[in-house]
């Protein structure tokens, strides 16, 4: 795109910059407005919906949600479920991704295609049988059961991503290590894994965000506060009590902050990995 400026219909640098600014505004302004609403007094929100007044802002709504609802407990559940999902999905995804990247065997293409195709199955079709299965395994309404379901659903993506990151590493490194007397397992553990760590961080973050965000399976599999995660809690809070706007937006901000932090830390690598994996097929 080096010479775009010269041709007749080319966009000028200024109009490109304006366009990019508009895109950034479209993406971030709703969040900024939500954050602003969450620290406004409820009366102000209703009296002056569009008012920009920075007088008596405060974190009252946050305090109220934190003290008088179960939301903190539900956030805790979500943290536990997301971490469990991340560990399991990343471990299994790394193993499988490594095998699919390095080994050559009949059926490899078939397995890769299989992991593509399972994503086509409607989640709603699987919901009911999984509910029945969880009941049989005594995993209904447990955090581990939820994490197992999320692990399964994030695995195909984790495997594809990890395969992509392994593909990007030269095989010669491992061959050299193996000639020097390293076992296959040793070569993977000592040579490859340390190099692929940024990719693992990106994959793990993506998987954790998926588990953190899901509402559909949590709605079906959990029934009490024992294992309920925050998205279900937020849906129920709003359904039952018609939350005041300030509290609603405060709840939203509390649950979105971990996503923002994770995204800020690993976003660049995540975006790179996603496109690389998707483009290869």
């Amino acid at each position: 795109m080096a010479v775009t400026g010269k041709s007749r219909f080319a966009l000028s640098t200024i109009s490109i910059n304006v366009g990019v600014a508009l895109l950034i505004g479209f993406a971030t302004l709703p969040l900024i407005w939500t954050a602003y609403t969450s620290i406004r007094p409820e009366l102000e929100i209703i009296k002056h919906p569009t008012g920009l007044m920075f007088g008596n802002l405060g974190f009252d709504a946050y305090r109220e949600v934190w003290r008088y609802t179960d939301f903190p407990h539900l956030l805790g559940n979500s943290v536990v479920v997301s971490l469990m999902t991340m560990v399991m999905s990343l471990t299994l995804g790394t193993f499988a991704g490594y095998a699919l990247s390095r080994a050559n065997f009949g059926g490899k293409q078939g397995i890769l295609l299989f992991y593509m195709l399972v994503r086509v199955i409607p989640g709603v079709l699987l919901l009911i049988p999984i509910y029945i299965l969880m009941q049989k395994l005594n995993l209904l309404d447990t955090r581990f059961g939820l994490a197992l379901a999320y692990t399964t659903f994030t695995l195909p993506a984790a495997i594809w991503l990890m395969k992509g990151f392994f593909d990007a590493l030269p095989v010669d490194l491992e061959n050299a290590a193996r000639i020097d007397g390293c076992s296959r397992m040793g070569a993977m553990w000592r040579i490859v894994l340390p190099l692929v760590r940024p990719g693992m961080a990106a994959t793990g973050t993506l998987v954790a965000i998926e588990a953190w965000n899901d509402v559909l399976f949590a709605l079906m599999i959990t029934s009490t506060n024992e294992a309920r995660t925050w998205p279900v809690g937020m849906k129920l809070l709003i359904g039952e009590f018609q939350l005041p706007w300030a509290q609603l937006t405060a709840t939203a901000m509390m649950s979105v902050i971990p996503v923002l932090i994770a995204f800020g830390l690993a976003g660049r690598k995540m975006v790179a990995g996603l496109t690389a994996g998707g483009l290869k097929e």
């Binding site: 895109l23 390095r102 965000n213 998707g278």
Partner: protein, 314 residues
């Protein structure tokens, strides 16, 4: 890999039994050991439920009537074909998927072109634009329901200043507009998916190509239409089919924003199945609706792959 001979180091041989066992495995066996955990988990929680779901679709199982499933053949599907609720939901799903795809591809393409020029802080802009795609659907849904609220929503108020009147009842209570309200929010959160793919595709096109078409006197638009677009075809193909599947399959956003209402005006097929299962506990019929969705998607995918002729040209 198989060419490299196996040489086990001393340290390895003295290591724990598990490591010793794994070292014995070579080549194919090693690969299978790494693959089996994930394959078995996916089999247990996706493949087995899939077949169980298909069997349920041929059965009568209503939890409110009793816990036992009774085989009834294609009865559920006969009911389904005559069910006006299903017909209405199918129509809404078609609109949702069609309008969703067109708007998302258009905005996604424009954004990718804008973001494709390299500069110092462009990566920050790219990340910011991707943000909505990673947002929790619950937050996205309630945030926009608030901002498009009839009385207090900032967007409702701001667009009324430039002459667009959403009407006193607001967008969510209006049966003619509610679906497009959800589609707007779907656009907001999903178009970055296309931007992501198209941007990666653009970055794979050598910059020298533009230089040579410029020398030949091609305008930017001609370059885009006759050089870039054909090269982006595979990327567009993959991302369109993935997003179409998501739009057809996922009831999440509609569930959170309107629950299918007002009336049945935003009821889409997967949400109907979800409600039959979750509220009516009619597991057999809900499964039949989901199986119909799966058949629909497979049919769509086959027709789409044929019509695009993907794989033939290469």
């Amino acid at each position: 890999m198989a060419k490299v001979g196996r040489k086990v180091g001393y340290a390895e041989r003295r290591a724990n039994p598990l490591a010793r066992f794994l070292n014995v495995l070579e080549g194919k066996a090693f690969a299978w050991v790494l693959l089996i955990p994930s394959l078995s988990l996916v089999s247990l929680f996706i493949v087995y439920p899939l077949f169980r779901g298909i069997r349920l679709s041929l059965s009568e199982l209503e939890l409110l009537k009793g816990p036992d499933a009774k085989f009834i053949g294609l009865e559920n599907f006969k009911t389904l074909l005559a069910d006006p609720q299903v017909g209405n939901a199918a129509k809404n799903t078609l609109i949702y998927t069609g309008v969703g795809l067109v708007t998302q591809i258009a905005l996604g393409m424009a954004a990718a072109l804008l973001l494709s020029r390299e500069s110092k802080f462009i990566w920050a802009a790219r990340i910011a634009v991707m943000l909505p795609w990673f947002m929790p659907p619950v937050v996205t849904a309630y945030m926009w329901r608030f901002m498009l609220d009839a009385q207090y929503g900032i967007v409702t108020i701001l667009v009324s200043h430039i002459g667009i009147d959403i009407g006193g009842q607001g967008i969510w209570a209006n049966p003619d507009k509610a679906l497009y309200g959800v589609l707007f929010v779907e656009l907001w959160r999903s178009y970055p998916f296309f931007t992501l793919f198209i941007l990666a595709g653009i970055q794979g096109i050598p910059a020298e190509l533009r230089e040579s078409t410029a020398i030949d006197g091609a305008s930017s638009f001609q370059h885009f239409r006759y050089v870039m677009l054909p090269l982006l075809k595979p990327v567009l193909f993959v991302s369109t089919i993935l997003e179409a599947i998501k739009l057809i399959n996922s009831p999440t956003l509609v569930l959170l924003m309107t629950e299918g209402g007002p009336g049945d005006s935003t009821m889409v097929v997967p949400l109907l199945a979800f409600k039959k299962a979750y509220q009516a506990f009619d597991f057999g019929y809900a499964s039949a609706i989901s199986v119909a969705v799966l058949i629909g998607i497979s049919g769509f995918a086959m027709v789409y792959i044929r019509s695009v002729g993907f794989g033939k040209e290469k």
